[in-house]
């Protein structure tokens, strides 16, 4: 066995933060290795601000952002970006919405101009709203074709009860059908305002030049006189074990076990990152769940666990997943539950801890390879107040963690006695394997 004890190679980012007079936060990072640029704009609003009755609204708006503006039709928007070979995506997720444009750096201004237009001047034409609603109803149906998605949706409904996170951001067929153009317009007017917007631009740019371009486009955006966001209720961790078996005609059973997790700003986030690495989230078969359930027992192609990857402004979820043949269902469930119990009761070894730290610090550099990754990091740093010295701080945060920290924190955030277990596949409602036609 061999590994380097040398000082870890660290990414370097040249970051500049500017706040425009209208409140928009601009984050810039310049590098010239490839002639491309990524423009990531987010407004801090998503399905967490919806009611159950309007489930799917933020996501619908995200999809409709490029459906037309005061000066461009949807086709003109697409043509403008695509004529220079650019790629535009718009979205409305759980906690943020917005647009991402990737293009050759010589065309950066075109990307900025269109991004500003979408966030400031979208018109949501009636026919486009109806068309997109119709399409989404079909997409919601298609989710049943991906058993892992189906299992995940069922799991969220149970563990996030009482919080907006129980819903899939795309919403439900019944709620999406009732959404109106007025709903769309209302949400857009309320939340798509400069003081709720962040713009990250990374790549082959000249920062000063881009600042000028941003001022020329987003600078015209008037800030809202009054702006506030609703309180979002958090889900409580369950205090009883729960099980749900969903019958589906599939080759595999898809199993998700877990409960409510943590928010990103939780001070124990970094200790749990280490715990994740040891229990079920490191690549290859070095963490316990993939090593034992896949590599040793051959139960699955895909099996893992984690609590940190879904941590956001609101608590995410702790999940352990496995997809396996129906005849292995009992072994798979007891295998996952057994590993969860073992790490809570037995903690981790000093050797496992050391390996996890080496992995987390050594692999950090890979989060900054693409311009889109850098832009995403800048936004994450801004949303969670990580500070741009995070690139240095991260290593210290990880290195300081002890075996005792992992034991204490694992016991605090993971409850092996009160887990939700969801199974989707050829099973009956009691979990007995059946043959489905």
């Amino acid at each position: 066995m061999q590994h380097s004890q040398k000082r870890t190679a660290r990414p370097k980012l040249d970051v500049e933060r500017v706040e425009l007079p209208n409140g928009l936060v601009l984050l810039l990072s310049e590098n010239h290795s490839i002639p491309s640029v990524s423009i990531n704009a987010i407004v801090r609003a998503g399905s967490r601000f919806e009611t159950d009755e309007k489930a799917g609204l933020a996501s619908l708006i995200g999809a409709l952002l490029d459906a037309g503006t005061t000066s461009r039709t949807s086709q003109q928007i697409a043509e403008t970006i695509e004529a220079v070979g650019g790629q535009l995506g718009t979205f409305g997720d759980y906690q943020s919405s917005g647009a991402v444009v990737r293009l050759l750096s010589k065309d950066a201004f075109i990307g900025l101009d269109v991004t500003a237009d979408l966030l400031m001047n979208s018109t949501f034409p009636d026919d486009k709203v109806h068309q997109e609603i119709d399409r989404r109803v079909a997409q919601i149906k298609a989710r049943l074709d991906v058993p892992r998605t189906q299992a995940s949706d069922v799991f969220n409904e149970i563990v996030f009860k009482g919080s907006p996170r129980h819903r899939p951001p795309i919403g439900y067929a019944e709620t999406v059908k009732t959404l109106t153009r007025a709903d769309v317009e209302g949400f857009y007017r309320r939340y798509y305002v400069p003081q709720n917007t962040m713009l990250a631009i990374a790549g082959d740019i000249d920062k000063n030049e881009v600042k000028g371009m941003v001022e020329a486009t987003f600078g015209k955006w008037l800030c809202a006189a009054e702006f506030g966001t609703p309180e979002v209720p958090w889900a409580h961790r369950q205090n009883v074990p729960l099980e749900r078996f969903v019958t589906a005609s599939k080759e595999q059973v898809n199993v998700i076990i877990g409960h409510v997790g943590i928010e990103r700003n939780n001070p124990d986030y970094y200790v749990l990152l280490v715990m994740d690495t040891i229990l079920g989230s490191s690549p290859g078969f070095t963490s316990r769940i993939p090593r034992i359930l896949r590599d040793e027992q051959g139960l699955a192609y895909s099996t893992f666990s984690n609590i940190t990857s879904s941590a956001g402004q609101d608590p995410g979820r702790f999940v352990a997943y496995i997809g396996t043949a129906p005849e292995n269902l009992d072994r798979a469930i007891s295998g996952l539950r057994g590993e969860i119990m073992r790490i809570v009761e037995g903690g981790v070894t000093a050797e496992e801890l050391e390996a996890a730290k080496l992995y987390l610090t050594g692999s950090f550099v890979f989060h900054f390879q693409r311009n889109s990754q850098i832009a995403e990091f800048l936004l994450e740093a801004e949303v969670y107040g990580l500070g741009f010295d995070y690139l240095e701080k991260y290593h210290e945060l990880i290195r300081a963690i002890s075996v005792e920290d992992v034991t204490r924190v694992t016991r605090k955030y993971i409850d092996p006695h009160n887990l939700t277990t969801v199974v989707v596949g050829p099973v009956d409602e009691h979990g007995k394997v059946i043959k489905v036609a």
Partner: protein, 439 residues
């Protein structure tokens, strides 16, 4: 046209034992991607033994005479790296990415597992279950059952007939001895290309590669079964029944291999039809007809002729035959040469930009270099485009494509006799098998 930025600074050499070595030194990010590509995939397999190339890929993580089971992953882990592998029709590729101060373990591991992988019988048995689970994931997915049937129907003789993961029955029958024999046939320097891209010193690295790999014997001369798929003589149609809330359509047309003179016009046609929301399939099916949630055209480079295929996922209440008909109408527009210059210009720029936008990581660049070294090798590929040089001439050839060439390629390949049409319908209801349009 200047050389592609991907090939800038690339050096290639062939060791006396036949190993192709490609390096690309670049110092903008402190990382190194190491890949080894073997020119063996499901194309090299035989009926009754399908899926061996992919299964073998799994076994190469199970240890060698030097690295015991789990150690390859553990070394990667302790060094903060990543590793994985993938197998497809024409190749099997393995990769590592490491920070540039500790990447050379990758070379040592690849040198060891090229010839010294262990095939312990108990490891083989448990990994067989893993591979079977991987296959089941595919069968439970929305597209794979239909894709498998269309390719199996379109290719009667050629090994593109079966999926890379293999047929379940063949996997169940596979033995450790079969796998070892397959490994001994294909895993040798003369079948491989080693690619290193990133922050290193080329002179030192080439020397290190010579030390580690130079001693390995070249291996036997082996070539894949020489099977030519005869021309299709008439449309083939099929229906797959599966419990699904969404009906799907897949139309495959036999289309030429990598580097074929017509392949560039077909790439431009693919972009015109399917890249972005201004593309024809999106504008026609999603925007105008509003009959699908998505529709795509796909054409990949392969060693042998493969399929140019169309896929659509239908909205409830719409008919597969009508969507098929609409796709055929869009194809007919291409055949008539009804393509304004602005549209072909856009398509060409999309191809060019996507090459840049998908190459920001050293691993992505290494993948392109390794892929074309592995597939664009045959004599039919023009000499100036062979191996990684394919990337140099690609944009030039794409830029030179005319509207007439697109129309001619569409007329030549998108014919009724040359296509296989598959419908995926909900297994719970007896569906009507409707006919679509005429070609």
């Amino acid at each position: 046209m200047t050389k592609s930025f991907i090939t800038r600074n690339v050096q290639k050499s062939i060791l006396p034992n036949g190993l192709t070595v490609v390096t690309k030194e670049m110092h903008d990010k402190p990382v190194v991607a190491t890949m080894i590509w073997y020119r063996v995939g499901s194309r090299n397999e035989e009926l009754g033994q399908t899926g061996k190339s992919h299964f073998l890929e799994h076994m190469l993580f199970k240890g060698t005479d030097r690295y015991k089971k789990g150690e390859i992953d553990m070394i990667t882990h302790l060094n903060g790296g990543a590793n994985n592998a993938f197998t497809w029709l024409d190749f099997t590729a393995y990769y590592f990415t490491f920070a540039s101060d500790r990447w050379e373990a990758a070379l040592e591991i690849e040198a060891s597992r090229m010839r010294n992988t262990m095939f312990a019988e108990d490891e083989f048995a448990s990994e067989k279950q893993v591979v079977e689970e991987e296959l089941r994931i595919g069968l439970d997915g929305p597209w794979e059952a239909l894709e498998n049937e269309v390719w199996a129907t379109a290719f009667r003789q050629h090994p593109y007939h079966w999926p890379t993961v293999g047929w379940l029955e063949d996997l169940e029958a596979a033995s450790g001895a079969d796998m070892k024999a397959y490994y001994d046939k294909w895993y040798h320097p003369r079948q491989a290309t080693l690619v290193v891209a990133g922050d290193f010193d080329s002179v030192e690295v080439v020397q290190k590669i010579e030390e580690l790999f130079g001693r390995i014997p070249p291996g036997p001369l082996a070539s894949p079964p020489n099977i030519v798929e005869p021309s299709q003589r008439g449309e083939k149609r099929l229906v797959v029944r599966k419990q699904t809330p969404v009906e799907r359509l897949l139309i495959g047309y036999h289309a030429p291999e990598v580097g074929h003179p017509d392949s560039y016009a077909l790439k431009v046609a693919e972009a015109v039809l399917s890249t972005g929301k201004s593309s024809r399939l999106y504008q026609r099916l999603v925007e105008r007809d509003q009959s699908v949630t998505k529709a795509d055209a796909t054409y990949h480079d392969h060693i042998d002729p493969s399929l140019f295929y169309f896929q659509a996922e239908l909205k409830p209440g719409f008919k597969l035959a009508d969507v098929e008909h609409a796709i055929c109408e869009e194809i007919d527009r291409l055949k008539r040469g009804d393509i304004p210059a602005a549209e072909t210009d856009k398509a060409k720029r999309q191809i060019e930009a996507s090459l840049v936008l998908s190459s920001e990581e050293p691993l992505q660049q290494a993948t392109l270099l390794g892929q074309y070294e592995t597939i664009a090798f045959d004599e039919h590929v023009p000499a100036d485009s062979r191996g990684y040089h394919y990337l140099d001439t690609l944009l030039e050839r794409v830029a030179g494509v005319t509207v007439e060439e697109i129309a001619m390629a569409a007329q030549k390949y998108f014919t009724e006799d040359n296509r296989t049409v598959g419908y995926l319908i909900d297994g719970r209801e007896p569906g009507e098998e409707e006919r679509g349009c005429a070609a």
